[in-house]
Symmetry: C2
Subunit: 349 residues, 2 copies
């Protein structure tokens, strides 16, 4: 039996888009319902969201992960697609295509455009992205109470580009924006390299390092380990903050069984030479400890992958196999509860 | 009986929004149908449109008169409203209001937003407004044939502001953008002064002066004489070009009977001390001639205002009273035909 975790005053989640947003829904549901050990409605949740797949399109600054988290938690998301606004209309996109303006492959809904217009205008007026995000969240997250905050990982421009083979190019390869790779090319061609432009020189947005340092628990939700959580950890200072925090750090595998649950984890992992398995992702994150660059105290994999537990334990990573499918809020809340239990296993209550 | 006008190779129209656009529809209809003396489908029509009521709103560059002309002639206008796109949706506007972002009074339709996005992005990329307008017109005007061109009066930023009484302001007055005066305040308060910021230092867009100099006929359609035609004539060089052209110059009164046919002509005329009548507007434009700053060879007023003809003739302005209500394309084509006849009255055929 696991020891009782301490009262959770602050949880910080390093989130990508869809996977992270759905995990957060379940976490909030579990906190409100008393399903998360040590947690309650009073637990403060800070989301540090990936901004490395942001894109400028038609002159608008689009932040897919920030918006997916914001819309999902604020009940504005289209639940079928998992991105963009519910009851969306597509007049702007239709008209841009009628003008023959590229790109035509980006899913720019009319309701969504309003968010991008507000963001773009505030950025043009000189506000940093973190302030803009706070302003946008006033609409979406205020109804959920003051305990929830959404922060971009950085206020700096960071953009993920993917190198793919292109026999027609003189160099034999071509570099495309991550969104083009993901949406237009559907991640169907191998990614030779992933280059995150601007990451090395970026600085964490205000509040990010404090949110990691002052948390009781830091969660790496089942987001893409390369282009979502990986880029957040790649902002200079963030990985060190995770290594140094007094909080427990727990991750949940986005890989279940033989393939990715969603997203293009396969291509991204292969591009950095990491095997596509729950165990390999856990070992890629690594166990925290003196002299280690690892970030995890505990790692959750799906029960179907239980055979990978011994190798994880051998690598020094406390791991558990539990159901990891976010089929509904209750199932996801149980994942959050299991993550808390795993994180605090072996501690005095 | 009027003498036959010469073959009309080129007609240049100095246009505002709705009134000018409807006149142009009738003119093109009349040219295509052989109703305009001397004109034919081969007649080249150049529209020089007012840009002084342009506005930046939500970070988008909106050019109401250019768009009204473009949408009207390209059959994209909402015929009921007379502005904006047909089959419009309003998701962006609804969402901006949900974010609490001002202004909420501006009618920003979703389809319309696409036009503004293309324009704004091209302007940001360094293209002048005239190039942007040409690019947008490729979609709207190309089906009408190469004989039709739409030019902004200038590529420079020019903005009309209106001073109104405001007892709460220390100075006792407040200055609002023309669009705010017209849309939000519905032109229901007196305009103390109209200030067209940037007009004095603007230069005509490429092609504007040539279009006036090389025309056979220049038309001042029934647009607002102050904030539409007046601002076009106010671009340095334009009034001189109209005075110097070998073309005949004819105007059609926007004032019929006791009040304006549309728009806020009354308030605008009163703000510059001109009586609100067809005759007064004609005398305000003035008769061309040596030593005169007038711009007209002929002036059309509505038949209901025929009593004003003697005063116009006394002022040296050749005038005619004809039906001036643009009830349908045929009626408007007859106005265009009457304008041509009046312009070339007294010339050898």
């Amino acid at each position: 039996m696991s020891p009782t975790p301490p009262t959770l005053q602050r949880i910080t989640v390093l989130s990508g888009g869809m996977g992270g947003a759905r995990f957060l829904q379940g976490l909030l549901h579990g906190l409100a319902g008393g399903q998360v050990p040590g947690g309650s409605e009073a637990t403060e949740v800070t989301v540090v969201a990936n901004t490395a797949d942001d894109i400028w399109v038609h002159g608008l600054k689009v932040c897919p992960d920030l918006d997916t988290v914001m819309y999902t938690l604020g009940d504005g998301i289209d639940p079928g697609r998992g991105w963009g606004r519910r009851e969306e209309t597509w007049s702007v996109k239709t008209e841009l295509a009628a003008y023959g303006v590229e790109p035509t492959w980006f899913g720019l809904g009319d309701r969504d455009v309003a968010t991008h217009l507000v963001r773009t205008q505030m950025l043009a007026a000189g506000y940093p992205l973190s302030d803009v995000t706070t302003a946008l969240c006033r609409r979406w997250l205020t109804p959920l109470g003051a305990r929830l905050r959404l922060l971009p990982m950085t206020d700096d421009r960071v953009e993920t580009h993917v190198a793919i083979a292109d026999p027609d190019a003189p160099s034999g390869r071509r570099v495309v924006h991550f969104q083009e790779y993901w949406i237009r090319l559907r991640a169907e061609v191998p990614a030779e390299t992933v280059v995150v432009v601007g990451l090395d020189t970026s600085t964490p947005a205000p509040g990010v390092l404090d949110a990691i340092a002052q948390a009781d628990l830091v969660v790496l939700p089942p987001s893409n380990p390369v282009v979502s959580v990986g880029t957040i950890l790649g902002v200079p200072g963030v990985r060190d903050a995770v290594a140094a925090t007094d909080a427990r750090v727990v991750g949940l595998s986005p890989i279940v069984g033989d393939g990715p649950v969603r997203g293009m984890a396969r291509q991204m992992l292969e591009s950095i030479g990491v095997e596509v398995s729950a165990g390999a992702v856990g070992r890629h994150y690594g166990a925290r400890g003196p002299g280690s660059t690892g970030v995890l105290d505990a790692w959750l994999i799906d029960e179907r992958d239980a055979a990978q537990l011994p190798a994880l334990e051998a690598a020094g990573l406390r791991s558990r196999a539990v159901p990891l499918m976010m089929t509904d809020h209750d199932a996801t809340a149980r994942m959050a509860a299991a993550a808390v239990e795993a994180a605090f296993a072996g501690t005095a209550s």
